[in-house]
């Protein structure tokens, strides 16, 4: 049997390849351990459109039932819907079956605690501790509970968004938009969601097959078809979702991808213009957020990369808006402290409706930065050495060292960060111009390659 080197157990859940590492037995064991961790109550289970989702769901349900939990199946829904459902139904936890932007052969379990947030690092470690105990402690039949099914989870999610935005204003504006659902969960909900906001909607990759016909990451090279649709139909804006509907990238009316970072920049601008307050973003987020916040007299706090790290700090600081610029993840805690592409679409539409400005005009008014990123294969121990070396070398610069190292220069920055999910080290750089960003990338790549090879 092949050595299973593609299983990732981390703070962001249990990821693996179907047919290799992510076996039914492993899934059931993790689901049972999670059930034991949260206790014998309701556990919401939702999944994305991946073809393997059904098999994974059966294994999850078996594990939950066997420890006396009541699985509450909400079907194929966006990941944020699962989190919102945990809160709405007062469940004691949730499992989202999705490998997010990973290719189709992957799947994963993402665990949501009773707080309706993803497990944080400490909680994830506790769950893993239970999983590693020799006896999972299955229940006897007397304490078994039945399965519950709900088909209104997304409706609840949508209502929560509509309750918090100016639906009438958006409807009156009657926008023409395009949306790329990536054959993911958006294919089931996005058209209706946008139509109920009074939009004329053009969709691409709108079949919920889970067989991704474009690269699942919403980066420029994967958005060609969306760009064409936007141009052909003279849409104001194009929205690109990822397969599980938590992240969003944008295409302007010329059909140009504007970079994932700008979903967050726009959302921050819009929210602060209505109600100034704190902002929390991860360290891999554009400085444009800081500039926008400064214009409203607000400050930005940086957190580690990873949704739960951002939401954790948002809840502690009371920030209403935040997110992960690097992956188009906008978090608006007024709806729910989680990344949500539907919230992002609604906020951008509301911004256009209330300001009366077109998408391209708003975009032009925002500070412009260019971001580049790369990854290098590198074992974890070596990666830490690289970070330490850079910390020493740039000790007289402004540094953020909460997650890898971010070196801030005036008007530009570089982030070098060991990955949580792969054995690589990531390099990102941002500057006012493409030339400057490329130059930074070149300089730091040389440093990293030299150190990574030294092993």
């Amino acid at each position: 049997m092949k050595y299973k080197k593609n299983l990732k157990v981390s703070v962001s859940g249990v990821r693996g390849i179907i047919g290799e590492s992510l076996t039914p037995g492993l899934i059931t064991s993790f689901a049972a351990s999670f059930g034991r961790y949260v206790g014998p109550g309701k556990v919401v289970v939702g999944r994305d459109t991946r073809p393997s989702g059904e098999m994974v769901e059966h294994a999850v349900v078996a594990g939950l039932l066997a420890v006396g939990c009541q699985p509450m199946l909400i079907g194929i829904v966006p990941t944020p819907t699962v989190q919102i459902a945990v809160k709405h139904y007062n469940a004691c936890g949730g499992i989202a079956i999705t490998a997010s932007h990973n290719p189709v052969q992957w799947n994963a379990l993402k665990f949501i605690g009773p707080s309706s947030l993803f497990l944080d690092r400490i909680e994830a470690a506790e769950l893993l501790d239970i999983y590693n105990q020799p006896d999972i402690g299955f229940s006897d039949e007397n304490s078994f509970r039945s399965i519950q099914r709900k088909n209104d989870a997304f409706a609840i999610h949508q209502k929560k968004i509509f309750d918090n935005i100016d639906v009438e204003a958006i409807r009156d504006a009657g926008f023409k938009v395009a949306v790329d659902c990536c054959c993911g969960v958006g294919a089931l909900y996005s058209r209706k969601f946008l139509e109920e906001l009074g939009c004329e909607v053009f969709t691409v990759y709108d079949q919920p097959t889970g067989i991704f016909e474009r690269g699942p990451e919403p980066i420029a090279e994967n958005l060609v078809k969306l760009s064409e649709t936007v141009k052909q139909n003279k849409c104001l804006v194009g929205f690109a979702q990822d397969p599980d509907g938590d992240r969003l990238a944008l295409v302007n009316s010329q059909g140009e991808a504007v970079g994932e970072q700008y979903s967050l920049v726009m959302a921050v601008d819009h929210i602060l213009s209505e109600m100034p307050g704190d902002v929390v973003v991860n360290v891999q987020t554009t400085k444009a957020v800081e500039d926008v916040a400064a214009s409203y007299g607000c400050s930005v706090e940086y957190s580690r990369v990873g949704e739960i790290n951002v939401t954790g700090r948002m809840l502690e600081t009371g920030a209403e808006i935040g997110g992960e610029g690097s992956c188009g993840g906008v978090i608006w805690s007024k709806v729910h402290p989680c990344r949500d592409s539907f919230v992002t679409m609604a906020l951008i539409l509301e911004m256009m409706a209330l300001s009366g400005e077109k998408f391209d005009e708003i975009l032009e008014s925002l500070p412009a930065y260019v971001t580049r990123s790369l990854k290098f294969p590198c074992p974890a121990a070596r990666a830490n050495e690289i970070v330490r070396f850079l910390k020493h070398k740039y000790s007289d610069c402004e540094l953020y060292t909460i997650d890898g190292i971010r070196i801030n220069f005036p008007d530009s920055w570089v982030l070098v960060r060991p990955s949580n999910t792969e054995t690589v080290i990531r390099l990102s750089a941002e500057a006012r111009s493409a030339e400057k960003a490329d130059e930074l990338m070149k300089n730091f790549s040389e440093d990293i390659l030299k150190l990574a090879d030294k092993a």
């Binding site: 049997m1 390849i17 179907i18 047919g19 290799e20 076996t23 039914p24 037995g25 899934i27 059931t28 064991s29 049972a32 991946r50 073809p51 393997s52 059904e54 098999m55 994974v56 059966h58 294994a59 349900v61 078996a62 594990g63 039932l65 066997a66 189709v104 052969q105 799947n107 999972i136 299955f138 229940s139 006897d140 039949e141 007397n142 078994f144 039945s146 399965i147």
Partner: protein, 443 residues
């Protein structure tokens, strides 16, 4: 594959076992039916995940009696089936039972092959684009079973009699189908314990003590006959209109008495070593030939095929008929009994009156299984005058009665059956053996 839910039988074991079946079949489709037990749904989800990840398409029948699954497997041209339910076993237990493509239990060779895969822990596992699909078997297909049942019996004769029948479904998997059953046979069926709640109203073995509820309402409701079924419709016992609860041993002889008469002499009949002598007498009465096998439906069904027998059945209340499904079917046992009453124009009491009676005592003796084998073997020295058949445990036969001792496959007990002409003799012999065993165990 049986066990206590939680302790022995957990979803990981279910996944391993279903993966072994999936690996064994390699591809194709499998029918899965569950009984009403609360833990059966958990087992279904585990089996479903495992089978689909072996690339097997799952056709899910939901809560379905064993005979319906025996029928659906060849009917839907499936490559195998899985019954999730513990049949006659007490609350808290459950089981995974694999079936072959013709709907029968796997024979010993296939079981061995399956277990070899299970013990190796090397299972087939498919990539995302080769996973099996799950579909739900619709009501129409289940109706097809009842049409088939109707084709096996003389429905016209039965319905003409307008029988009132009370049946206790033990809140089991037969419960959802009482209406279809009544319509098929044209009877006035009064079902009791017919809620699919997963809670067993009494011990699911159709022993006389489980029949007290049926028995108590026979007279007030002027019923012609009563039946007590186990939770998956593979075993049944009869209550007569005079209010006598017959031992489950007599279900098979009553059916055999009628079928052998109908089909003439020289028919072959299969039963196990531990069933009542009544069946021997009945077969002799109709000039038939009897073959005896191990305990268990798999052995009975296998032998039936081998010698082209018309009937097979066991003292536990199970009946298999040639031309019917490939496993015990108590819907059919019920229908044939009613046909016997209708065609012969007899009451259920008169049917029972045709049987030569013996008295049977069934007891269990607690004994860890490791010890049991040698203890039973030792007993041989104590009964030099008996004829001994060592096939499935030991059977000691005297001219006027017999005792069978068998290490149970499903629990750590020795099952003892003692049968003599009178109850006193049967009890007396059972007591002697129990005393002997207990003394031997203490040594």
């Amino acid at each position: 594959m049986r066990g206590m839910v939680g302790g022995g039988l957990n979803p990981l074991l279910a996944i391993d076992f279903a993966s072994a079946l999936g690996t064994f079949l390699d591809h194709g489709k499998v029918v899965v039916g569950i009984d009403s037990r609360i833990s059966s749904e958990m087992l279904y989800h585990a089996a479903c995940a495992a089978l689909t990840s072996c690339g097997i398409n799952v056709h899910y029948a939901g809560v379905a009696p064993a005979p319906v699954v025996h029928f659906l497997t060849p009917h839907l041209k499936a490559d195998g089936a899985m019954l999730l339910g513990a049949g006659h076993q007490g609350a808290g237990w459950n089981a995974l039972v694999p079936l072959a493509a013709d709907g029968s239990y796997l024979n010993s060779i296939l079981v061995q092959e399956l277990l070899d895969i299970y013990h190796s822990h090397q299972y087939k596992i498919c990539p995302w684009n080769e996973l099996g699909k799950v579909s739900r078997i619709n009501k129409k297909e289940i109706k097809a079973y009842f049409d088939f049942l109707g084709s096996l019996v003389d429905v016209k004769a039965i319905s003409a009699k307008n029988f009132t029948v009370i049946a206790d479904f033990c809140n089991g998997s037969g419960a959802p189908y009482t209406k279809m059953l009544a319509e098929t046979l044209g009877i006035n069926l009064i079902p009791i314990n017919n809620i699919v709640s997963g809670i067993l109203p009494h011990s699911p073995e159709p022993r006389p003590r489980s029949a007290f509820q049926v028995n108590s309402i026979m007279k007030p409701l002027k019923a012609d006959i009563g039946f007590v079924f186990n939770s998956d419709m593979s075993r049944g016992a009869i209550v007569t209109d005079s209010g006598e609860t017959l031992s489950e041993e007599y279900t098979f002889p009553i059916v055999a008495d009628y079928i052998l008469e109908k089909h003439g002499r020289q028919q072959r009949v299969i039963t196990n070593q531990c069933s009542t002598r009544t069946i021997d007498d009945i077969v002799k009465r109709h000039g038939g030939e009897i073959y005896k096998t191990h305990v268990g439906q798999a052995a009975i069904a296998d032998k039936m095929l081998e010698v082209d027998a018309i009937l097979g059945g066991e003292g536990s209340g199970s009946v298999i008929m040639r031309g019917g499904v490939r496993g015990s079917d108590c819907f059919l046992a019920m229908a044939l009994t009613l046909e016997a009453m209708a065609v012969r124009n007899m009451t259920s009491t008169q049917l029972a009156g045709r049987l030569p009676r013996y008295h049977i005592v069934k007891q269990t003796i607690n004994c860890p299984s490791a010890r049991a084998y040698s203890l039973i073997r030792n007993l041989r020295n104590h009964f030099p005058d008996a004829e001994v058949i060592e096939d499935d445990g030991f059977k000691f036969i005297w001219h006027d009665g017999w005792i069978s001792l068998r290490n149970a496959a499903t629990e750590p007990v020795i099952r003892m059956i003692s049968e003599w002409k009178t109850m006193d003799e049967a009890l007396d012999r059972a007591l002697r053996v129990r005393g002997l065993l207990e003394r031997l165990e203490a040594l």
